[in-house]
């Protein structure tokens, strides 16, 4: 991989931190091409987008529209075939596997449709997981995990196992896990897909609160219009392209 010289990269990071009103996410003509045998599938075609720090954006589109691929690239789980993705001023395309893992660990919190908590592992230990991988000493982990659980309204359920928690509670554990390393961005992929209307509303209100109170950038993928309504910007995908990008009046 092409390594940036150390001094250059740190200068970039400095620049990113200096500007308070800055572009957090910027994609420049990114494309993603999958090869299934001899057939090429263009999952994304020349997508350019820019998301500022502190935004609350929803990505919508039917299945196969490329929205999940876009999310995976934003989450540094995948890399674009072409084009450039700048996260916080860093060109993710130049990073190797472990450097991307490091970015996921420190800057991004994932919330999935299926919660993706470790089974037979208590809520607090699930929340402690991201801290295992950034060298935080064991004695500090517990306190921070407790704090994060309290923040999502689950104080007192630390020792519960996922199987003992309701869907909404499990999703809030997942959100606590996403927050515990002070992530700048929360990427939520159909976070309410497995929840009923009432719990969905609770979870969405939690996202809204994190966005407004803690200035966390929230990007969520959904195909439900009423869920997307919680956001202040809706980006619509169709056949691998952005077809509309509108600011909503809410807030």
């Amino acid at each position: 991989m092409s390594q940036l010289p150390e001094h250059k990269r740190s200068r970039r990071l400095l620049r990113a931190q200096d500007s308070s009103k800055m572009t957090l996410i910027q994609t420049k003509d990114i494309s993603k091409i999958y090869r299934a045998g001899s057939v090429e599938v263009n999952a994304l075609m020349n997508v350019s987008a820019r998301i500022e720090a502190g935004e609350f954006a929803a990505i919508m589109g039917p299945s196969g529209s490329g929205k999940s691929t876009f999310m995976n690239i934003l989450g540094c789980l995948d890399t674009p075939s072409r084009g450039q993705y700048l996260l916080d001023g860093t060109d993710v395309g130049t990073l190797d596997r472990d450097e991307r893992a490091n970015i996921r660990n420190k800057k991004i919190g994932f919330v999935f449709q299926g919660f993706n908590l470790l089974p037979r592992t208590s809520a607090i230990e699930n929340v402690e997981l991201p801290m295992l991988y950034n060298g935080l000493p064991a004695k500090d982990r517990k306190g921070r995990a407790e704090e994060a659980l309290k923040n999502v309204g689950l104080a007192g359920r630390e020792e519960s196992y996922p199987s003992q928690l309701s869907g909404g509670q499990q999703q809030r554990v997942a959100i606590a896990r996403a927050l515990v390393n002070n992530a700048a961005i929360i990427l939520a992929d159909e976070p309410t897909g497995n929840l009923d209307t009432k719990t969905s509303a609770e979870v969405m209100e939690l996202f809204t609160r994190l966005n407004t109170e803690s200035n966390i950038t929230v990007i969520l993928v959904t195909h439900e219009q009423d869920i997307a309504e919680y956001s202040r910007r809706i980006i619509r995908f169709l056949d691998g392209r952005i077809i509309s990008d509108e600011r909503t009046g809410r807030s």
């Binding site: 789980l77 995948d78 490091n102 996921r104 908590l117 997981l129 295992l132 991988y133 064991a138």
Partner: protein
């Protein structure tokens, strides 16, 4: 990077989740390590026994027997022709530089009597050199001297078995016993030597000066005749030289022409025993090699289970990767899991191996030796097996694509 204590805790939890599976996987290692330790202990026990026997008959030992005689075309077997004399022994002592000690032997079986007790035992007439040759010491009293040999003194050294049978707990030194009705003064008691390589009790014996044996006990067909001569070479390296020198000297003394056969036989006892010891060592290695195959099979068992475990936990791996686990974090988690299996299995295997060798020693009556080296070796080997067979599954896990892993059902 994940810290080691946490990684170990995660591994333990994962292993506890599938107790039966973990236990069975460990069983492979337990049997492997146990077998290696048990086999090594049996082999080393056998080697040690042979080594002990070598040292009990004395080191660098050469025996000279009178040659075979031919009587009207019928060969009579070695020892039938009486050709060796005390003078031969003295000549060897004086003229063979590679020889350190010489002891001619004239022996027989006799009834020994003390008070109301009597006992039948082997009586050996010899010279003071015998004790040096056999590396034999005295528990009490003094050895007999050249002076005793010259004067054909009626003194004797008795073995522990004889002492126990005639005197019980009492001190035999200074007492007078009768050997075939001839009174002898006991001047010393030999230390315990145990069994000879042929299974004879070496402590069931009485030693007297050779001249006394010749003149007062067993008689001779001609003056100075001895039944055999024992020789100790100066060192292991001198054995062959000593053999050559003795053969040359005796041929000369016995006036044997260049085309005639020897009328005596020179036997290198130590080399026979050493051959036996070497073959036991080869046997030990062979046993250990076979046992280590089972350890290898145990290792393959670990690899198999770890591969299953990686597949089962694909989703868990995906989650860990999504939240920031790096290649080495995932790799370490699974390697530590495999190591935990092999190390716990190794410890249990050491206990099994030690108990097995003790049980074998008890039931079969073999001597077994569990050496720290064999424990260390088996344990180290099982650790290596865990590392080696755990690495591939761990590598496979760490190379998963996080997106695919997260979607895995």
């Amino acid at each position: 990077m994940i810290d080691i204590p946490t990684a170990i805790r995660i591994s333990f939890r994962a292993l506890k989740r599938n107790k039966m599976r973990s236990a069975l996987t460990m069983l492979g290692i337990i049997i492997g390590v146990g077998a290696v330790i048990a086999m090594l202990s049996i082999g080393m026990g056998a080697s040690k026994r042979i080594a002990d026997q070598i040292s009990s008959i004395g080191s660098n030992l050469i025996m000279i027997l009178p040659g075979a005689t031919t009587s009207a075309g019928v060969r009579m077997g070695s020892g039938t022709q009486i050709t060796l004399t005390i003078d031969d022994a003295e000549a060897i002592q004086n003229e063979c530089p590679a020889v350190s000690d010489v002891a001619p032997v004239h022996n027989g079986v006799a009834q020994v009597v003390f008070g109301s007790q009597n006992w039948s035992t082997a009586v050996t007439g010899t010279t003071p050199g015998m004790l040096a040759i056999r590396d034999w010491s005295l528990d009490s009293g003094r050895p007999f001297t050249q002076q005793d040999v010259r004067s054909a003194a009626k003194v004797c050294l008795i073995g522990r078995t004889v002492s126990d049978n005639l005197f019980g707990e009492a001190d035999p030194v200074g007492q007078v016993i009768r050997i075939d009705k001839v009174p002898f003064t006991v001047i010393g008691v030999l230390s315990v030597k145990g069994q000879s390589p042929q299974g004879q009790d070496q402590d069931d014996s009485v030693y007297v000066p050779i001249t006394t044996a010749q003149k007062k006990l067993f008689g001779t067909m001609f003056p100075g005749m001895v039944r055999r001569i024992m020789v100790k070479a100066r060192s292991m390296e001198d054995m062959e030289t000593a053999e050559k020198q003795i053969t040359e000297l005796l041929r000369q003394r016995h006036r044997i022409g260049p085309k005639q056969e020897n009328d005596f036989t020179v036997r290198n006892l130590t080399s026979i025993m050493q051959t036996a010891e070497q073959s036991t060592q080869v046997m030990t290695l062979l046993l250990a090699a076979i046992a280590s195959v089972s350890l290898l099979v145990g290792g393959i068992g670990i690899m198999n289970i770890m591969l299953v475990s990686v597949t089962e936990r694909t989703r868990e791996i995906g989650i860990r990767m999504a939240i920031g686990a790096k290649t080495w974090d995932i790799r370490m988690q699974f390697v530590i899991e495999a190591l935990t299996l092999s190390i716990i299995g190794g410890i249990a295997g050491i206990i099994t191996g030690i108990s097995a060798s003790k049980i074998i020693a008890m039931i079969a009556g073999w001597s077994t030796i569990v050496s720290p080296l064999s424990i260390f070796l088996a344990f180290g080997f099982s650790g290596m097996v865990g590392l080696f067979f755990g690495f591939y599954p761990a590598y496979k896990a760490s190379m998963l694509n996080p997106i695919d892993a997260l979607r895995y059902e």
